[in-house]
Amino acid sequence: MNKKNKKINPLKTTKDELLSLYKDMLLIRRFEEKAGQLYGMGQIAGFCHLYIGQEAVVVGTRASMIDGDQMITGYRDHGHMLACGMESRGVMAELTGRAGGYSRGKGGSMHMFSTEKHFYGGHGIVGAQVPIGAGLALSNKYKGNGNVSLAFFGDGASNQGQVYEAFNMAKLWSLPVVFVIENNQYAMGTSVIRSSAETELHKRGSSFEIKGIQVDGMNVLEVRDAAKKAIKHARDGKGPMILEMKTYRYRGHSMSDPAKYRTRDEVTKTRSERDPIDMVKNRLIVEEWATDDALKSIDKEIKLIVADAAEFAQTSPEPDASELYTDVLLDA
C-alpha cells in the first residue's frame, strides 16, 4: 500500500453518505473561513470562535441523530448550527448583527437558536449547556417522545462542577442524553495536561457509572459510529454515555488570541496529517467515488453558498430600533 492508501479509512460507508459528509464538513470550513474574513473587515465584532479543524465531530454526530433529537453547545457554535440544517444566511447575518440573523441581531456569534431544527444554543457561560442538555433529555423522557439530547462541551468546560452534578442526575434518572466532549486539547491558552488531573476525559463519568468512549474526532466515520452507539444506548433507556472526541482547533481561541501557547509546527502537523476533510477527500478519490473535477465543482458550489450568505449578512439591514425592547418577557 502506498502512503496515501494507508490513510484510507476502513470503516463502512457508501458513496452517497461520504459525499454528503464531505459537503457538510466543507460548508462549515468555508463558512468559518469567511466569518474570519468578515471579522477582519470589521463586519463581525466582539467574540467570534471558529470551528475550523473540528468539523468531523459535529458532522459525524449529526449523521447518527434522528429528527427531533436535540443539540446544544457553547459559544463555538457555528458548525453545530450548520450541521443541524440551519441556513448559512441566517447564521452569518447573526454574526454581523443584522435583522436577517437567527436572533434578529440580538444574540451574536455565541447566541443562536432554532426550535425548528432542535438547536438549543449557543451558550456563553462555559459548562452551562451541560445540565441544560440533560434537562432537554428529562423533557424527552417525561414526554416519552423517544428523542435523545446531545450536549457538546469542551475539554476546559469538563472541569466545571455543574458538569458532574449533571452527570450524576443524568445517570441516576437514566436520562436520554449523550455528553460529547470536544477535546481540542486547549481551553483558551491552557492545555488539558495543565488543567486536568484526569486527562482521559472519557473516564470522567466513571464515578457515576457512566460509560465513556474515546473517539478519533478527526475521523468523521469513527465519530458517526461512536455517536450511533451512544445515541442508541440513550434511546434504549439505558441512560447517558460520554464521547470524548479527540480533535483540534486550527485557529486561535477567538479572533484576538495570539496563540503563543502552542507551536506553529503543532498546528501545521495536525493540519497536514489529520485533517478531517482531507481524509474524506482521499477516500473519495481512492474509491473512485469522485474525480478531482467533481470535488472542485463541489468546492465551487459551497463557496457560492457562503458568498451568498456573506452578501446577505452585509446587506441585511440592522435591526429596527424598536427591536431593542421586544423579547424581554412574554405577555402572561
Binding site: 448583527g97 441581531g105 440580538k106 451574536g108 466545571q160 495570539p258 427591536e323 431593542l324
Partner: protein
C-alpha cells in the same frame, strides 16, 4: 478573481496596527491557513492567515509600516495565472462597522486631566507624574503588594502562562513564580471557594475572574462564605481576599458577557466594593484592597484597561477605601458616577460648560461603604443631582444615592434628581441596538439640562 487581503481587526477595539513582518513574498503560492504576515496590536503580535488558496500578488504595505488602518488592502491574493492588479487604483477604504461606535472611539483616548482635581496628598508642586495605562497600574499594584507580603498570591484562569486574558497579570509569573501566580481550570465556584479557604487559613489571595460575568458561578462563595463568616463566627474568622476582574459591558460581546454587577455586590454587608475610574485610583485602591482585612470585590472595566492617565510618582500609593473624590468642581449640578461612567460625566461636563452649566463631578470610587457625605455636601452646594451608571436602573446605585440625598438634603434640592442607566433589557449584540442600550455622555447632558430646567 483577485482577493484583497485587508488589514484585519483582531479585537473589537483595534483601529490600526503595525505590519511588522511579511512571511511570504510576491509570487509565492499559498493555501488557506498559511501565514502571510505578522502584525502588532496594542495587545499582542498576531499572524494574518491566508483565507484562500492562490498566489501572493503585489504587497501594498511594506513591512515595518506603523499605524496601518483596519481595512486597508495590504496584499492581493491572485488565482493562479492571474495578473497583478494595479493597486494604486484600489482605494484605501477602511471598513469598520463600528466607526460611529462611541465606545471604540474613546477606548484609547486619554481623558484630559485638566479639570481633574488632584488630591491634596499628591498635588504638591514637586510631585512628578508618569503616564500609565489602567492595565499596568493594576499590575503594578499587585506586584508591589506581592513584594511586600509573601502571603499575597494570585489565582485565576489564564493569569500565569498566558499573562492574563486581558494582560493585567503580565510578567507576574516571571517575577513571582508558579507558587504565587496560579493558573486554575475553568471552575470558578471551586477556585473561589479555595481562595476563601486559603484566606481563612491565613493567606491573602487575589482571585481574578476573567470577567465578573463568570463570577456568577462563584457568587455563593463570595457572599455566603466570604462576606458572612466574620459575623457568623462572632468575629473569630478572617477572610482577607480580593475578588477582582473586569465588570460590565465590553464591546459587542452580547448579553451573557456584558453584565454590570455593581449593585448586586453593593447590597451585601460584610463586603467592601470598589470600582475605580483612573489609573491612580486603580493602583491605590487595589493596594488598599489587598491590605484590607476584609473580603473586597474589586470591579474593573475592560474598556478602561487601555486608557492612559497620569499617575503620581510616589513610593507607596494607597488610596483609602470608602472615600469618594470630587473630580471636577462646579456650581450648578452634581454628577455622580463610578468606573467608566466617570469619564462620560467629565466629557458631559466639558460640553455643558459651553451651555452655561457648570457641573461638579463626584467619582464614588468605593460603592460599599458608600461615601454619601461627599455627595450630599456637593448637592447642598449645587442643589441638583444626576446619577449615572452603566447597569440597569431598578435597585441600582443611583437609586441608593437618590434615596440618601433626598433623605439628608431634601430641602436643598431645586429639582427632582435624574438618573442615567442602561436600557432595561439584556444587552443586544447588534451595533445599533447596543449603542441605544448603553448610557453615554449625551444621556448625562440631557439629564443635567433637565434638572437645570434648561433645554
Amino acid at each position: 478573481m483577485a482577493i484583497d487581503i485587508k488589514m484585519p481587526a483582531l479585537s473589537p477595539t483595534m483601529e490600526e496596527g503595525t505590519l511588522s513582518k511579511w512571511v511570504v513574498k510576491e509570487g509565492d503560492t499559498v493555501t488557506s491557513g498559511d501565514i502571510l504576515a505578522e502584525i502588532e496590536t496594542d495587545k499582542a503580535t498576531m499572524e494574518v492567515e491566508s483565507i484562500d488558496e492562490g498566489v501572493v500578488g503585489k504587497i501594498a504595505i511594506p513591512e515595518g509600516t506603523e499605524n496601518v488602518k483596519v481595512g486597508t488592502v495590504i496584499v492581493q491574493l491572485l488565482e493562479t495565472g492571474e495578473k497583478v492588479n494595479d493597486l494604486e487604483k484600489l482605494q484605501d477604504k477602511p471598513i469598520n462597522s463600528s466607526e460611529n461606535y462611541e465606545q471604540n472611539q474613546t477606548a484609547k483616548k486619554t481623558i484630559p486631566s485638566r479639570d481633574d482635581l488632584d488630591e491634596k496628598r499628591v498635588s504638591g508642586s514637586n510631585v512628578t507624574h508618569t503616564e500609565i495605562t489602567v492595565r499596568d497600574a493594576l499590575r503594578d499594584a499587585m506586584a508591589e503588594e506581592m513584594r511586600r507580603d509573601e502571603n499575597v498570591f494570585i489565582m485565576g484562569e489564564e493569569v500565569a502562562e498566558y499573562q492574563g486574558a486581558y494582560k493585567v497579570t503580565r510578567e507576574l509569573l516571571q517575577e513571582f513564580g508558579e507558587k504565587r501566580v496560579i493558573d486554575t481550570p475553568i471552575t470558578e465556584y471551586g477556585f473561589a471557594g479555595i481562595g476563601v479557604g486559603a484566606a481563612m487559613g491565613g493567606l491573602k489571595p487575589i482571585v481574578e475572574f476573567m470577567t465578573f460575568n463568570f463570577a456568577m458561578q462563584a457568587i455563593d462563595h463570595i457572599i455566603n462564605s466570604a462576606a458572612k463568616t466574620l459575623y457568623m463566627s462572632g468575629g473569630q474568622m478572617r477572610c482577607p481576599i480580593v475578588f477582582r476582574g473586569p465588570n460590565g459591558a465590553a464591546s459587542r460581546v452580547g448579553a451573557q458577557h456584558s453584565h454590570d454587577y455593581t449593585s448586586w455586590y453593593a447590597n451585601v454587608p460584610g463586603l467592601k466594593v470598589v470600582a475605580p475610574y483612573d489609573a491612580e485610583d486603580a493602583k491605590g485602591l487595589l493596594k488598599a484592597a489587598i491590605r484590607d482585612p476584609n473580603p473586597v470585590v474589586f470591579l474593573e472595566h475592560e474598556l478602561l484597561y487601555g486608557e492612559i492617565f497620569q499617575i503620581p510618582d510616589v513610593d507607596d500609593l494607597i488610596v483609602p477605601i470608602g472615600k469618594a473624590k470630587v473630580r471636577r468642581k462646579g456650581s450648578d449640578v452634581t454628577l455622580v458616577a463610578h468606573s467608566r461612567m466617570v469619564g462620560r460625566c467629565l466629557e458631559a461636563a466639558n460640553l455643558l460648560i459651553n451651555e452655561g452649566i457648570d457641573c461638579e463631578v463626584v467619582d464614588l470610587r468605593t460603592i460599599r461603604p458608600l461615601d454619601s457625605k461627599t455627595v450630599i455636601e456637593s448637592v447642598k452646594k449645587t442643589n441638583r443631582l444626576v446619577c449615572a451608571e452603566e447597569g440597569w436602573g431598578q435597585s441600582g446605585i443611583g437609586a441608593e444615592i437618590v434615596s440618601r440625598v433626598t433623605k439628608e438634603a431634601f430641602d436643598y434640592l431645586d429639582a427632582p434628581p435624574e438618573r442615567v442607566y442602561q436600557v432595561d433589557v439584556p444587552l443586544p449584540y447588534a451595533a445599533n441596538l447596543e449603542a441605544l442600550s448603553l448610557p453615554g455622555s449625551s444621556d448625562i447632558i440631557k439629564a443635567a439640562k433637565k434638572v437645570c430646567y434648561k433645554n
